[in-house]
């Protein structure tokens, strides 16, 4: 297993709460995980489980009324939770970069894609000349497989397809060879064929740039394809941490089991109903007192409804937050 001292990013007890008029929403409520250099961590969970908020917290891009209220985010030996915005600006886009779910709206419509990549380069490399930064931007466009990169440099985002725009976002994110790339549902908004291309591109570039990836997705297929380790999130918590093989071979947490069982297979017959996890994600304003998954859990016991379990080490270097283990 991954040894702790090599960790590039180590998040401990992270809590990000939103202070709304209806009350405090604990979108991320005590999350631990780590990413080693060059490794890919998949964070999986349903919509609203806090995976995007976790990613934005690491980037320190949580906007009001949200705030990181507790925990530490150790990145390359420094605690980002304690860093100033000034220090974060130097890291963002430089040592750590992020790509988003919506390629259609993530690029500024009034600047050409080339200018937007060049801006990323020049923000962190202030010595570089305009010409050299431009050459670098064109190189990046070529690297992400955009045909005719010199010409596409002058294209505006609206002149490109969603897949091409996501390639531009990747080019921008990798233009300074970051140690960590956070990808927040990078393929969710794309067509299935384009999804596969983007994932292939990310796998290829991950090797070439030697970057660690924190991949946020609700798609277990993407996780199986890309990740070394997986963290499963539910209602603002991590319920299971495991390497990807163990997780798919033997899911421990009933939620993980439910997620895996809900994937339809070709072997299942047509008339067979899909396995679903019954019930809905709890309202974060009114969380159950015990395990947050207990109301939907087929294996729930009395203790589950009363006492909140914590993430504990189990055999095989895995962690799970469940009273069954």
């Amino acid at each position: 297993m991954v040894s702790r001292k090599q960790a590039l990013l180590e998040v401990k007890g992270l809590k990000t709460h939103f202070f709304t008029e209806d009350g405090i929403v604990p979108a991320v409520d005590g999350v631990d995980f780590s990413v080693a250099a060059g490794e890919t961590l998949g964070i999986v969970g349903e919509s609203g489980c806090g995976k995007s908020v976790t990613a934005l917290s690491v980037m320190r891009l949580i906007a009001s009324p949200g705030r990181v209220v507790a925990g530490s985010i150790l990145f390359e030996g420094r605690d980002l939770a304690q860093s100033s915005q000034e220090e974060m600006c130097d890291l963002r886009g430089n040592r750590m970069a992020m790509i988003f779910q919506e390629p259609m709206t993530s690029l500024n419509p009034v600047y050409t894609v080339g200018e937007q990549i060049r801006e990323a380069v020049q923000t962190h490399d202030r010595q570089i000349s305009d010409g050299a930064a431009r050459v670098r931007a064109v190189e990046m466009l070529r690297m992400v497989g955009i045909p005719l990169p010199e010409e596409r440099y002058r294209a505006f985002p609206h002149e490109m397809s969603g897949g091409m725009r996501q390639r531009v976002m990747i080019a921008m994110a990798l233009s300074l060879a970051p140690a960590l790339l956070i990808a927040d549902e990078p393929t969710t908004a794309l067509d299935v064929t384009i999804q596969a291309q983007i994932l292939e591109l990310m796998k290829d570039l991950r090797e070439r740039v030697q970057t660690a990836v924190m991949l946020i997705t609700h798609d277990l297929g993407v996780v199986a394809d890309m990740a070394d380790k997986v963290a499963v999130m539910y209602a603002g918590e991590i319920v299971e941490n495991a390497d990807v093989y163990s997780l798919f071979r033997e899911p421990l947490h009933p939620y993980t089991q439910g997620l895996l069982a809900s994937i339809p297979t070709l072997a299942s017959t047509r008339n067979q109903r899909l396995n679903v996890i019954h019930g809905t994600v709890p309202n974060l304003l009114r969380l159950p007192p015990g395990c947050r998954f207990a109301p939907r859990c087929p294996k729930a016991m009395d203790i589950c409804r009363q006492v909140r379990p914590t993430l504990r080490d189990v055999d095989g270097g895995r962690q799970v937050s469940c009273w069954l283990y």
């Binding site: 980037m59 915005q85 963002r92 886009g93 988003f100 709206t105 500024n108 009034v110 921008m172 994110a173």
Partner: protein
């Protein structure tokens, strides 16, 4: 783009022709004519003499012939002769004399308004629901709901009559016509009145436009690149939020030329707004027709300018 412009200019010509005909017809329905002054000032004049005068000047001809004659004259650069407020002087001369005054007043008011409204709008957007935002918001509603004539008179009462800091009206002091400082002193109060309303509405417009942009995904991308917050706001935010603001300003331009009737009247400022008012009151149709045509032309032309400017600042817009 070229074909688009040609098409738009063609539409513009047709529209102006329709407007001129409409205004000509409407004005012909209104009682009163060029010889009213004669009738009032000379009780001995007979109906037969008025009839002869009308025949001599061609006012007895059918409407469509008079309209056609007017069109021919306009094509030759003659917009007719004033028969009321500036008896016997060409309409173009009467209007041009006022246009300069109005441009100075409205130009100054617009400049002041933009300089104040932009930063206020941006600030209250990035500090939405802050103490300052609420303060500016309440002030805006005050500015929007304040009647111009009342606010103007209050300013005169306090700052001109009471404190004596500014003149009560007019464009310049007799004997000091070329003095810039004197001119500015005369402009101060009317510009304040006009700017209060503009700043109130425009700052709200800038605020909502900026708020819309602040929510956009590309703002988060800009932050994720490591850009400093002020660069994010100015380079990525402002540039986008100014697109609708620019369109709005382009559509305000016709108002600059046609003047502000109430403000000009309160401050007895000889501008286009008051000329229009005086022209209507004196039943001086050639002047009124000329003013309406200029305003109509400017409104249509500025719409075109706004559309073209839109395409220039927003690369997503193409006219093919």
């Amino acid at each position: 783009m070229r074909n688009y412009l040609i098409r738009r200019l063609g539409e513009m010509a047709v529209l102006l022709l329709l407007i001129s005909a409409l205004v000509f017809v409407i004005l012909s329905f209104v009682p009163g004519g060029p010889f009213d002054l004669l009738i009032f000032s000379n009780p001995r004049i007979t109906a037969a003499e008025i009839k002869r005068l009308n025949e001599a000047f061609g006012f007895d001809k059918p409407l469509y012939i008079r309209y056609f004659q007017w069109l021919v004259d306009v094509a030759g650069g003659h917009w007719g002769t004033s028969w009321g407020i500036a008896y016997g002087r060409p309409v173009t001369e009467v209007i041009l004399a006022r246009l300069n005054n109005t441009l100075i007043l409205m130009g100054a008011a617009t400049l002041v308004s933009v300089i104040i409204a932009l930063p206020i709008g941006i600030y209250s957007a990035i500090r939405q629901y802050s103490w300052a935002d609420y303060f500016v918001t309440s002030l805006s509603f005050f500015g929007m709901s304040m009647p111009t004539f009342w606010f103007g008179i209050m300013l005169i009462v306090i700052f001109a009559v009471g404190l004596g800091w500014f003149p009560t009206g007019g464009v310049s002091t007799y004997g000091l016509e070329g003095d810039i400082l004197d001119r500015i002193r005369h402009l101060a109060l009317p510009v304040t009145v006009l700017s209060l309303f503009n700043v109130a509405t425009w700052s709200r417009f800038v605020r909502s436009s900026m708020l819309e942009v602040l929510r956009q995904d590309y703002m988060r991308t800009a932050r994720a690149k490591g850009l400093r917050e002020n660069v994010v706001i100015i380079k990525h935010g402002l540039r986008n939020s100014l697109i609708p603001v620019m369109t709005m300003l382009a559509l305000e331009i016709p108002g600059l030329f046609s003047g502000a009737i109430i403000t000009e009247t309160v401050f007895s400022y000889p501008g286009m707004g008051r000329l229009f008012w005086d022209g209507v009151m004196a039943a001086d149709w050639p002047v009124v027709q000329g003013l309406v045509m200029i305003t109509a032309f400017l409104v249509i032309a500025c719409n075109l300018v706004a559309d073209v400017a839109y395409a220039v600042v927003d690369p997503r817009i193409r006219y093919d």
